[in-house]
């Protein structure tokens, strides 16, 4: 059956066909849809874990119990999961354990760029690199087989253009498989030093065996065409090479760890000139150079994505003729949606002149003008640790230090940061932006709102009680749409000694089922003071003499602007449809 599937859908399908019974992970672009699709398949369970480390640990337990299990995360997720990953390689598996890692070269939706192929030699885990959805499915199935045959966790490494491109796939049937029976095996599964020393060397043995097996069976592919140029490539770069250099011979590396040394030597011996085309790090180039194989180091960008045109230019093509460009265009940065509760909180935050340690989610957009209320964003969960660190060394210019963190991010790795501040007797104001959902990655459930990936209701964590259990005396809850009330609470809390938590609670505007009627500006009353413009709401603009205007087709009636207008110039209007729905 031929289907048009994204790389993520194909990985989910591959895991299902391979008989995986559990999928677990944490959302992160571009990996998220993998588990969402897996969850929809028959006879499986899929779970969002609070973070990637927990996800991999759950997978480890499932593997120990003899089941096949898929884990999915974005590239930075592996940093969080690296602790169990490295030691899992020592242990190996019982049921096959496959980790989908989706990299984001060019940082479409990420705080950094990492080339996950590097985990191969670092953690000594095999890496398979599909070049399209058909391979994403095939390689995932193969990864489960390799995992069990060589007793090792396997990474399937994708990138944005694999995960989020659709191409044709021939889908197969699910292999029904028996659970591998459990046996007590402490030397393999209990990684204390005496056992780990043995497993460390055993890991080298398993990788070496895999390398020998791979010479015959790895999904590498050699395509001989004109042998005056031979290109070694992998992943999405393969497609760009085919497009840009249709006559070139190609060694397409399908398993990038262990590096196919013999295949590289054989290929290099058959072509006149070798070049290497890879996206992101100099991974293949470094390994190929170490083999002593000479290649032409064509100029590829050190960061960002490749494209057929970039590859063509690296080989001397002039590129396509272009039309003239149209200059002077305004940028279009992403923005918070109309009615976003984060906006109200940031507007109120402007009044306390705080240094704001930030975190990752939709609310990171509060760093952009006109709100400009964020001074740092490092990694998930960092806001609270950074707030504490800045306070411990004596603070910053005597200003209050406030951290802002989303609900999903708090559950991911903010709770430990908060425990740390409480434990060390630190101070500061932690604002938890509880919009009842993991919004940035497309509205996944999380432990704070209590809906699972299977759509079940579960216990939602009571943040206020959790904070009191940590001994935090001041825990207050605000409605961020009520900007005045929020401002008052903020002013009180930044003056307080010690640690306090403010839970800013209102649902994401995109999950509120009914929109309110839109508002309109009464021009007679508007003094063109600009207060509402400072909200940065996409529904509000100014006319030539500075008066505010509201686009009724964009306004969702959150009334934040009504609250910041000192002149009562913003009034309810009829619904958008009554006004004729002109857009």
């Amino acid at each position: 059956m031929t289907k048009l599937l994204s790389g993520n859908e194909a990985v989910a399908r591959g895991a299902w066909e391979a008989g995986a019974v559990l999928g677990v992970g944490y959302p992160g672009t571009p990996s998220t849809e993998t588990l969402q699709n897996f969850a929809g398949m028959p006879d499986v369970r899929a779970e969002w874990a609070p973070n990637e480390k927990v996800a991999l640990e759950v997978a480890s337990g499932a593997s120990m119990a003899g089941a096949r299990v898929l884990v999915a995360m974005k590239h930075v997720g592996v940093n969080v999961a690296a602790d169990p990953l490295f030691t899992q390689a020592y242990i190996g598996v019982r049921g096959g354990l496959v980790l989908l890692v989706a990299d984001d070269p060019g940082m479409h939706s990420s705080q950094n760029e990492q080339d996950s192929r590097n985990w191969g030699p670092f953690a000594r885990v095999p890496i398979l690199e599909p070049s399209d959805s058909a391979e994403a499915l095939e390689f995932t199935k193969l990864a489960f087989d390799i995992s069990e045959q060589f007793d090792i966790p396997v990474i399937v490494r994708s990138t944005t253009r694999i995960s989020h491109s659709k191409s044709l796939v021939s889908a197969g049937e699910r292999a029904e498989r028996e659970r591998i029976p459990f046996e007590t095996d402490a030397p393999k599964w209990v990684m204390m030093p005496s056992n780990a020393r043995v497993r460390r060397l055993d890991l080298d043995r398993r990788v070496a065996e895999l390398k020998t097996w791979a010479q015959e069976h790895a999904p590498d592919r050699v395509e001989y065409r004109d042998t005056s140029l031979g290109v070694i490539t992998s992943g999405i770069a393969y497609q760009y090479v085919r497009e840009a250099l249709p006559d070139a011979s190609i060694l397409k590396v399908g398993m990038s760890f262990p590096v196919p040394e013999q295949a590289i030597r054989d290929f290099a011996a058959r072509v006149d000139r070798v070049a290497v085309v890879e996206e992101a790090d100099r991974y293949l180039r470094t390994h190929i150079a170490a083999l002593g194989v000479e290649f032409d180091d064509v100029p590829l960008p050190a960061s960002g994505e490749l494209s057929p045109g970039i590859v063509a230019r690296a080989f001397g093509s002039e590129g396509d003729t272009l039309r003239g460009s149209i200059p002077g265009l305004p940028a279009r940065p992403p923005l918070m949606c109309p009615g976003c509760p984060h906006r109200g909180l940031y507007y109120a935050l402007r009044s306390v002149n705080a240094v704001v340690t930030g975190d990752i989610g939709c609310y990171t957009l509060g760093a952009l003008p006109p709100l400009s209320q964020m001074d740092s964003c490092l990694c998930m969960g960092a806001s609270i640790g950074m707030m504490h660190g800045a306070n411990v060394v004596g603070g910053i210019e005597g200003r209050p230090i406030v951290s802002v963190i989303g609900d999903s991010t708090f559950a991911h790795s903010g709770i430990t940061g908060l425990v740390n501040v409480a434990y060390n007797g630190g101070s500061g104001v932690v604002i938890i932006l509880d919009n009842r959902i993991t919004a940035m990655t497309g509205h996944q459930g999380n432990p704070l709102m209590g809906r699972t990936l299977m759509g079940e209701h579960s216990q939602e964590i009571d943040i206020e009680k959790l904070c009191s259990a940590l001994g935090i005396e001041s825990v207050r809850t605000v409605d961020p749409h009520d900007i005045d009330a929020t401002r008052i609470v903020l002013r009180e809390e930044v003056k307080r000694e010690g640690l306090s938590v403010i839970v800013s609670r209102a649902p994401c505007a995109l999950i509120v089922p009914e929109k309110e009627d839109p508002y309109a500006v009464n021009r007679e009353m508007c003094t063109a003071c600009g207060a509402c413009i400072k909200l940065g709401c996409p529904a509000i603009s100014t006319d030539d003499d500075g008066h505010a205007e509201i686009d009724i087709t964009v306004c969702v009636g959150c009334a934040q602007c009504v609250r910041v207008c000192k002149f009562d110039a913003i009034e309810s209007s009829g619904s958008a449809c009554d006004i004729g729905g002109s857009v």
């Binding site: 939706s109 659709k166 497609q239 396509d320 265009l329 305004p330 279009r332 918070m336 952009l368 603009s541």
Partner: protein, 196 residues
């Protein structure tokens, strides 16, 4: 057949992904090799988004380069201007006349040039007021399907196949509206009402 490259450019939330998906399904049903590439995540929050569909006997890259698209369908005027270089000289440039001012303009920190339509007209743009036609079809939200209708005039697929695919892809309550939207977009271009 050499691959045909269609790029759809717009603003997060305008429905470019659904439109691209319908086109990809139509091309698949016609027996072509197909690739579709889209970007999710941060940009979807009101940022610039573009989606690429390529079909032909054998398609390698899911993405394209400036100067390489055969058709560029722009859901918004500023994005049309931003992406105009992506359509090859002689390619088809279809532009929705709607403007969505980006935040820097709304807050007065930047300005949108006021000659964008004229500049795009010099590039041979075909203009369409997709929202007006969508409202006529029954919902302003069907503007993306109006644009598909307009695009369909320049592609080789039958009207029936488009209708079937749209019917299968959109929520069942909205099938009628979307089929009307497709029809209006298609007719606007067939009858030459698109202002060239």
């Amino acid at each position: 057949m050499k691959p045909v490259t269609v790029m759809l450019a717009g603003v997060g939330g305008q429905g470019t992904i659904l439109a691209a998906d319908v086109l990809a399904k139509v091309a698949t049903a016609s027996g072509f090799d197909v690739k579709l590439s889209e970007v999710h995540g941060m940009a979807q929050r009101g940022g610039s988004v573009d989606t690429v569909v390529r079909y032909g006997d054998e398609v390698f890259s899911p993405i394209t380069d400036p100067g390489a698209a055969d058709h560029l369908v722009c859901f918004e005027l500023i994005e049309a201007a931003r992406r105009v270089q992506w359509v090859k000289p002689g390619g088809r440039l279809l532009v929705n006349t709607r403007t969505i001012e980006p935040l820097p303009v709304l807050i007065g920190a930047a300005k949108t040039p006021d000659d964008l339509e004229a500049r795009l007209a010099e590039e041979g743009a075909i203009f369409l007021d997709a929202e007006a036609l969508a409202c006529e079809a029954g919902s302003p939200k069907s503007a993306n399907v109006v644009l598909l209708g307009a695009l369909s005039v320049g592609l080789e697929f039958s009207e029936e196949l488009w209708q079937e695919t749209i019917g299968a892809r959109v929520p069942s309550k909205t099938i009628d509206v979307n089929l009307r939207a497709f029809e209006l977009g298609r007719r606007a271009c067939v009858e030459g009402e698109c202002m060239a």
